[in-house]
Symmetry: C2
Subunit: 349 residues, 2 copies
């Protein structure tokens, strides 16, 4: 996963990544638009199209669409990993992207976020009921897309998607529950991150293979690869949520600390011996001042949260590499997996 | 469907209904509790258990549980209709009840309802994020329950459930969309009701048969039966929402008018010639006074909304009877279907 060591990223690699993402977009976009148009009612389809970025609030087509489609690209690769064509993997890719968008739609309501990618969130534009229903419709549509697919593993893939969706929802539920608790252990927090972020990436990396009826051993190794990539991504994201620059993250430095998020580096530090001052500051209900936020960041670092998260991200990347190697893929597909996964976790930290 | 003519309801019939529901509860409750316990995380499971009525807000078991389990009872009957055992139908019944509870959880948030069956709604107790996630988890769990089932029609049943769920969500979306529109046609309104209410009842009446691999013709006839039952129920519910007594409905007389709901009798009257006064009152943004509410009810009646809805409910009941007869079921199962369907639509109107 070369881009985790950014100095090694060459123009050729960047070209490969761009080309993989562009090819996948060309294959996917018509199928994705078709699924939203035919499987959602006009009212809810309009909300979903706005949310995805295809249309403005009045339903007029937009000229640009920002989504990178990394998860569905992994699903197409996984079909090829099992000797299918990318086309065979399209239902898997569409289903993954629908579930991803379902989770974003509901997340924005739950977090009260008013903007996403520089636009008002769907619930701000269409109201909470419409945004809840559009999310519900996307998850039901995702299941149907797979069950209607021709692949001999259609039922197995649908089961895998529903299981991953349940894990993702459980992880989000745990995350919400952690806000009210002062005794979250690091093991619980890692498990929550695996559920919230790892499960859908594991599914994305294996769903196309599952759909084309691949050997269960291969499906399992690809899923394990995706799970490690997801955990690495979450660790990096949590590090950026504390120490990331605004130009990288689009958020203020220390954003996650200000809302007292129980992210992985924070919980790692809270679980260290002698971190009582950190606990007293972070677990109190009083608002944190800006100097407090900086002090909390220093304490998280002093009690090993930053180092642990960096080291753990590196370990997850190494485990992902091992799983990918064990899958015994042809060089071409393996390189593409590495590029896309590197893009997911490869922000500098 | 004898109980639509309440004078005919004899003690024997009431006994049959009680016995059908009690037998089904005994078969279903352990499976339903098991699905919620094993397929939802502890945090979200607690919310679902509170919502269903098994636990209080602190997670302590409650002594009584009010749910009648009519939809899952229909699913068990549909397995028997296809020569399966009631046990064969359990995954279908559990899945239907999980989807039904998913929709109630999200409905309460969307409608801002603060109480259900005399208790605070889940979102009031656990917050909106928890209630959204618990609903999401129930719908994903429902799909998994069917896909994990042994029946040879498991994938077909899962497809049918996802399709019905999508129709139900579309209907709810249309219902929400109608609030902002003054030009809703009766055809649109009937379609919305079919989606919102008919689809899940159609699925309930056919899903057990589908799961045990019944002949598609039988599955189709049972689904058509349920669709008509659903429409009849919705028509009766809409009539009660305007003219129902508080002791029948638990709501104030005219409840639906007060919130300007575009229910079937209202839309039927709005579509009649000469109903301009009704349109002017009902489609204006001004709050309706109590005399206004009574006047609107009179206008809906004068322009034929009440008669149309009564007649249409009777037509739907007759169509349901025809579909059931065409299914060619053994007398025992047919009677039980009639009793449960009669219970659903049989409130006096």
């Amino acid at each position: 996963m070369t881009t985790t060591t950014p100095a090694m990223t060459t123009t050729t690699q960047a070209d490969l990544l761009s080309s993989v993402l562009a090819t996948s977009r060309a294959a996917l976009e018509p199928a994705l638009r078709d699924a939203v148009r035919t499987r959602l009612s006009p009212e809810l389809g309009q909300i979903a199209q706005y949310h995805i970025g295809w249309a403005d609030a009045d339903g007029r087509p937009t000229s640009t669409w920002g989504g990178k489609l990394v998860r569905p690209t992994l699903a197409l690769l996984s079909a090829r990993a099992a000797n299918g064509t990318a086309t065979d993997g399209i239902p898997a890719a569409v289903a993954i992207e629908l579930v991803h968008n379902f989770s974003l739609l509901h997340d924005d309501i739950m977090d009260g976020d008013t903007s996403r990618r520089g636009r008002a969130t769907a619930w701000k534009v269409f109201g909470v009921p419409g945004a809840i229903l559009a999310g519900d419709a996307l998850v039901a549509a995702a299941g149907s897309v797979l069950l209607d697919a021709d692949g001999k593993g259609a039922a197995s893939a649908a089961t895998s998607l529903m299981t991953a969706t349940q894990r993702m929802i459980s992880g989000q539920g745990a995350d919400v529950g952690f806000e009210r608790r002062g005794d979250v252990t690091l093991a619980e927090c890692v498990r929550m991150a695996g559920d919230k972020t790892g499960a859908l990436l594991a599914c994305a990396c294996s769903l196309g293979a599952d759909l084309v009826g691949a050997d269960p051993g291969l499906v399992k190794r690809l899923a394990a690869f995706g799970e490690h990539v997801g955990l690495a991504f979450q660790l990096v994201d949590d590090l950026l949520g504390i120490w990331g620059e605004e130009r990288q993250t689009g958020k203020q430095v220390g954003a996650d600390l200000r809302v007292r998020k129980k992210s992985l580096p924070v919980v790692a530090a809270l679980c260290a011996d002698g971190s009582e001052e950190l606990a007293a500051l972070y677990l109190s209900p009083e608002p944190l001042s800006e100097p407090d936020v900086r002090h909390v960041a220093d304490l998280v670092e002093r009690f090993g949260g930053r180092d642990w998260a960096r080291d753990e991200a590196a370990r997850q990347v190494a485990s992902a590499e091992e799983c990918l190697a064990a899958a015994g893929l042809p060089d071409g597909v393996r390189h593409e997996f590495q590029e896309v996964a590197g893009f997911i976790v490869g922000r500098r930290f």
